[in-house]
Amino acid sequence: MSDTYYDPKDLKNFKKITDWSEPLGTRFFEYYSKVFEEGALSAREKSLIALAVSHVVKCPYCIDAYTKDSLQRGITEEEMMEAVHAGAAIESGATLVHAVQMMNKHKKLSH
C-alpha cells in the first residue's frame, strides 16, 4: 500500500479493474479506446479535450497520461495550456453563474 492516496504506479494497473467485474471493465475499455479513435474529431483534438477534462475533474493519473499523449502527438505547450484554460473557464463559469442564484435569493430575502 502506498502512503499517499494517489500512487503514479497505479495507472499501470488500471486494467485490473476487470478482475472484479470482467464484463463491465472490458466494455468500458472497449468504449474508451473507441472514443479516442479518429472520427469527426481527430485523435489529436480528442487528446486535447481529454487533457482539459483531466484538469477539470482533477485526475492526476489522467493529467500524467494526457500530458504524455500530447507530447507524443507533437502538441505544443501553447496548445496544451490553452486547452487547460478552456476547461478552467468553463469550470469557473459554472461557479460564477451560480452567483445569479445568490443574487436572486438575496433580492428575495432583503429589502
Partner: protein, 349 residues
C-alpha cells in the same frame, strides 16, 4: 542545448563502458525487466544480417551544435574525424560491396574536408541513394557551407535533416538557441533549389521526441509537420522519419539526471514489438566508424560494441562475410523495437 560534450566535461558517461554498466544493472540485473537477449531468447529469435544494402559512414564527431539528446556526444569540441586514408578505404568498400545506399552521418558530416570527394566518388560508382544527414544549421554557418546545397543538388544527394519540431521553442530547447530560425532558412534555400519539390531531389525530415517519451504516429506527425511548415514558412518536404531516442550517451545522461531513466526503460520494454525484428536496420546496414572500425549500427558504434568475428575493420571485411552474421545486441536495442519500431529511416511497421 548541452553546454559541452560529456567527453569535454569529463562526465563518467562519456565512457561507453560506464554506459553499458548502467544498462546492465538496476532493473535488468535485478530481473525486474528482461535483458534484450533474454527477450529474444524467449521468442526463440536471433538477430542476423541479411544482405548489405546500406553503408552508413560516420565522418566524425565534430559538429557545430551540441544537442541535448545526441547519442554521438558530438559537438564543436570533438576532434575525431575520418582521415583521407580511411575515406579511400570507404571508396574501396563501395566498389567491393556495391551498397544501394551510402548514408553519411556524423557529427556534421559536411565538416569533414573529405566529404565532397567521397560524395563524388559515390556518384561515379553509381550508388543509387547518397544520403547526407544534415543538421541544417551548418548550411547557414558561413559562405563555404552555404554553397553545399548547390553541391548536393549537382550530385543528386538525398538530404535528411533533423528538425525535432515545427515550433521554435521545442526545437531550440533541444538543439540550441537560434537553431530553429537557421534551420528554416536552410530549408527555404533547399526548397528554392527544388529539394522537396522536384521528385529527384529528396528532402526528408527527422523527428525525435524532445524528452523522455516515445514518438507518436509517424503518419499523423508527418501530416502536422507538413501542414504547419507549409502554412508558417512555405516549406515543402518529402517524408518525416520518426526516430526513438535510445538510452545512450547524452540522452542516457539526461534520463538519469531528470530521474526518468527507470520509467523510460520500462516504457521501452513494455512497448517491445516482435514484428519490428524483421525490419531492423542492423540487418541490412554496416556502420563504419571514423577510424574505419565496423559496427552493426551507429548506436553500437557509440557504445563501442564491435561486430562479431575477427574482421572488425573496413579493409579486412570480405565481401561475402556480411550476410548471416550474428548481430550484437544490448538493452538499448529496445529503442529500435518499441511500438512501431525505429530506424534511421523512421518507423519500421
Amino acid at each position: 542545448m548541452a553546454k559541452s560534450s560529456l567527453q569535454r566535461s569529463k562526465h563518467l558517461l562519456a565512457d561507453p563502458k560506464k554506459q553499458l554498466q548502467v544498462l546492465s544493472s538496476g532493473l535488468f540485473s535485478s530481473g525486474a525487466l528482461p535483458t534484450f537477449s533474454e527477450r529474444l531468447k524467449g521468442l526463440n529469435a536471433e538477430l542476423k544480417t541479411d544482405q548489405l544494402e546500406i553503408l552508413q559512414v560516420n565522418l566524425g564527431y565534430m559538429c557545430n551544435q551540441t544537442c541535448v539528446h545526441c547519442h554521438v556526444d558530438a559537438g564543436p569540441d570533438r576532434k575525431e574525424i575520418m582521415s583521407s586514408d580511411t575515406v579511400d578505404k570507404v571508396i574501396d568498400a563501395i566498389k567491393r560491396f556495391r551498397p544501394n545506399t551510402l548514408d553519411l552521418t556524423g557529427g556534421a558530416p559536411e565538416m569533414n574536408p573529405e566529404f565532397q570527394r567521397l560524395v563524388r566518388a559515390a556518384v561515379s560508382l553509381s550508388v543509387k541513394d547518397i544520403i547526407v544527414r544534415s543538421n541544417l544549421t551548418i548550411l547557414e554557418s558561413n559562405n563555404h557551407f552555404r554553397s553545399y546545397p548547390q553541391f548536393f543538388k549537382e550530385n543528386g544527394v538525398h538530404v535528411v535533416s533533423s528538425l525535432p519540431h515545427y515550433s521554435m521553442r521545442t526545437t531550440d530547447r533541444q538543439r540550441g538557441e537560434g537553431v530553429f530560425s537557421k534551420s528554416i532558412a536552410a530549408l527555404n534555400r533547399l526548397n528554392e533549389l527544388g529539394y522537396g519539390r522536384d521528385e529527384h531531389l529528396k528532402l526528408d525530415l527527422v523527428y525525435n521526441p524532445s524528452g523522455a517519451f516515445l514518438p507518436g504516429s509517424e503518419k499523423e506527425l508527418e501530416a502536422d509537420f507538413k501542414r504547419k511548415l507549409k502554412a508558417d514558412f512555405d516549406i515543402d518536404f518529402n517524408q518525416l522519419f520518426c526516430i526513438t531516442n535510445l538510452p545512450i550517451s547524452r540522452f542516457l545522461e539526461y534520463l538519469i539526471a531528470s530521474e526518468n531513466y527507470e520509467e523510460y526503460m520500462e516504457t521501452l520494454v513494455e512497448a517491445f514489438n516482435p514484428l519490428t525484428l524483421s525490419g531492423l536496420m542492423c540487418r541490412n546496414t554496416l556502420s563504419v566508424g571514423y577510424d574505419g572500425s565496423l559496427y552493426d549500427c551507429d548506436f553500437n558504434q557509440m557504445l563501442q560494441i564491435p561486430i562479431y568475428g575477427d574482421k572488425r575493420y573496413l579493409s579486412d571485411l570480405e565481401t561475402n562475410a556480411y550476410s548471416n552474421r550474428k548481430i550484437n545486441v544490448h538493452q538499448h536495442c529496445y529503442g529500435c523495437t518499441a511500438g512501431s519500431g525505429s530506424s534511421c529511416q523512421g518507423s519500421i511497421n
